[in-house]
Amino acid sequence: MSSNHAGMSRRDFLKTLGISGAGAAMFAAGLPAFASKESAASFTPRAQNANVTLQLANYPYTVPPAQAPEGGYTAQQQAFLAWMEQNPNVRIEAVEAPIWGTGELRTLITGGTAPSFFHPGVLALWTIEGKHVVFNQGLLADLSAQFEEFGLEAQFSDAVRAAAVEWEVGGARFGLPEGVTPGNGIFFRRDIFEEAGIEPLTVDSTWDEIAEKALALTNEGRLGMGTQWWGVEWMLASEGFGKAGLFNYLPTPENGWNWRFDYTSNPEMIAATERYRRMIHQDRSLGSNYGDWDLLGQFFNGTMAIVTVPLQYFTQTDDIGPGALAAQLGRPLDEVVGAIPHPRGSNGHFSPEGRPGVSVFSVNPDYDEATKSAAVSLYQYMALGEGFVTQRQIAYEQTGNLQRVFSPYPFVGTAQSIEGVDGTPVDAWGQQYIDLVNYATTTAEGYPMRGLFFPPELDLGPTESAWGDATSLFRDESGDLDVLATYQTAQDIRNTQAEAFSSVIPDDQFIAAAQAYYQANAEYWQANFPDFYENTYRPWFEQVITPRLGM
């Protein structure tokens, strides 16, 4: 991806304009770009001899101002300054760039004026497949060489490695993990359960049990349960269905587009959907029109007793996090907030939503190798290396609060304790949460993620609009609704749309990838969930998949 143009291309010209504009903006704002300082400090590896410039649009790190602000630099800024001292040949610029708008970010990249770091999800509908496609379209830098250079993978925690599909495709690396959640899960108010005389939820709880308890907990001032506007996906994923469900994607190599959609062959999918609708429209025990933060707020206020949230929220230290709730009630965290992963399906399937998820950021695709190395060096220092430790130590010195040190937790790196900090993650968050992290990580180990087996396409194929139409009807339409017919409509539309697309993957390559993918599935389910393998996966594979792949 290096730019080796002899003259000034249109892109370089735009880039120059962008840089000049950003520089002028910084000057006007009294935020001069940091001139690097000579330093003899040693740090390996680093971008030692590269005279390069990194431009940060306040993400993922805030560029420290030249003069220490009132109250001093933040812990992150102090770590950043230390990295700058160690890398005197890297110039850091703070720029203004609209990196959180899809169209804007695409324009920045295609115009050659993108900053160093941005979130690939912004470009790609926040989906894994989307990230793979935009990488294939050249919108994200290939960081494979830098992963090797800095030995990154060895420094990642198990949870991050279990979510490799988020930053890797076809053997290439395109993302730098910045945060990790031990899967999506469920919080419940132990104190409210206790008051109502209801047994708390456990790792073995089923969706039916949760529905029953949500109904029992519902009263005039409280909803038994709250979930996101896409909440039906959670219940479907437990059974192996949904937007990216194992059973909903059928390989069809003989067609132009290699996948067909099946939403109507599985009665469990209809049953899970009807339970979701019953909870919303009949029991009125489920609210399903919320965002993550709304749910956390309602949970904090006690107006929802059970909520579906990313489990990482357990370690949020803001005003509405579980820690703040326990402090407000004056009780230990373990007595107030319970957390479980999403239940397994009625068929014994483990929900892929329960596996760890990783948030990554990507690097400007126009960068040459030296600049990419500088970018990854900064990342390595701040997220995995000395800078990371420094930030935690400062947080501990300033607050003496272990929850501040281990937030968010789990860490991206392998280190699970901090030198100079007298305490562990268990001390900060309790054994319950650490058990959850371990459960998610060990259960997801070897989970076959589709994106790791198939080469990326150049197109995303049919939009998800038809699927979204069906799920929005399930959520919103309170009258009689034929669930099967609704799924049939979505299936017909998506399959009609798929007929108009062509894959860039040759058939033999696709078939080989599909065989490897289903073989990996067989091994994973047999080893971890043998009942599901014998009763559900193997029969389905033999009847549905084998003929399609000519196996």
Partner: protein
């Protein structure tokens, strides 16, 4: 036909019909004319025709943000044409446009005429109430609360005041388009422009009509509406184009739901762009352009003759 040079300060003889006089401009006048015209022409070419031509060309490629682009002919048009959601988006858009024009274009005409019949003091108060300045986003947030099916104001009216069963409002596929348009009625749409037009009609017309014994309806039919005709024709053109291109309000209020019942063509175009399908999105834009052009031309032909001219 003889040409006549019009020197600065000179005048054309009154006896000569204006239609047959051809004025030869001086060099300076021609430069001035072009100096005024060129910025507008450049603007129109840059922001009107150039994007249109580029969009048309892009729609015939496999355009992607980066990398080589290849010519694909009408492939995108075929794909978009075969997409079942495109047909449903056009259906939703046409229903939305028809409802929108009936409810937010015609009603304000009637209301504006009736307002003009009121006492000036009452009229001023009515206008203050109607033209309460509200930002678009603030309105959206307010209306979402009003329509909330659990604790919204309208649900309270429906269930507690009117004794109706629970209503779906924006969550009902059958009702969603009406309730999306409903705030437009209250915001009076282009009513202010009609009122300005009505105020420019000489009062003597109405007085003369009253002396002749004309009632309210007669005055409206023979004076108000004909005098408003040029404004109505122009505003209706804008209303047709605007309603066929609607995006922001349904996007913010419903995201096209439930079940795609409020997904308009431009919203689907947005979905395609987000899915990195640039050529398909531009092909859809061309289809929409053709539809709008066809409707606008038909409408202009139908309303070409001005009976008062």
């Amino acid at each position: 036909m003889a040409e006549q040079t019009l020197a600065p300060g000179a005048s054309v003889e009154e006896s000569q019909p204006a239609a047959v006089v051809e004025v030869k401009l001086t060099r300076r006048s021609r430069i001035e004319k072009w100096a005024f015209l060129i910025p507008a022409l450049l603007f129109q070419l840059s922001w009107g025709w150039y994007p249109l031509i580029v969009a048309f060309l892009l729609s015939m490629t496999d355009a992607r943000p980066r990398g080589p682009i290849s010519w694909t002919g009408f492939q995108s048009y075929t794909r978009v044409w075969a997409d079942p959601l495109v047909g449903s988006a056009f259906r939703v858009t046409l229903i939305y446009a028809a409802l929108s024009i009936v409810l937010t274009f015609l009603i304000p005409i009637i209301v504006a005429i009736l307002l003009m019949e009121m006492k000036p003091r009452v009229m001023r108060w009515m206008m203050v109430l109607w033209f309460l300045p509200l930002s678009g986003v603030a309105s959206t947030i307010m209306w979402r609360y009003v329509y909330n099916t659990d604790f919204g104001f309208f649900q309270w009216i429906a269930m507690d005041v009117l004794g109706l069963p629970r209503q779906g409002f924006l969550t009902s596929a059958d009702q969603v388009l009406f309730w999306l348009i409903f705030p437009g009625i209250l915001m009076f749409g282009p009513g202010l422009i009609y009122m300005a037009g009505l105020q420019s009609i000489p009062q003597s017309y109405y007085e003369a009509a009253e002396i002749e014994g004309a009632g309210l309806w007669r005055k409206i039919w023979t004076i108000s509406l004909p005098r408003l005709r040029p404004i109505i024709v122009m505003m209706l053109t804008f209303a047709i184009i605007g309603s066929l291109q609607v995006f922001d309000w349904p996007k913010l209020m419903t995201e096209g739901g439930p079940g795609g019942a409020s997904r308009t063509v431009v919203m689907y175009m947005f979905d395609l762009l987000n899915s990195l399908r640039y050529s398909d999105a531009t092909a859809l834009a061309i289809f929409l352009f053709i539809l709008i052009m066809a409707i606008t031309i038909t409408y202009r032909i139908l309303f070409k003759e001005d009976p008062d001219a």
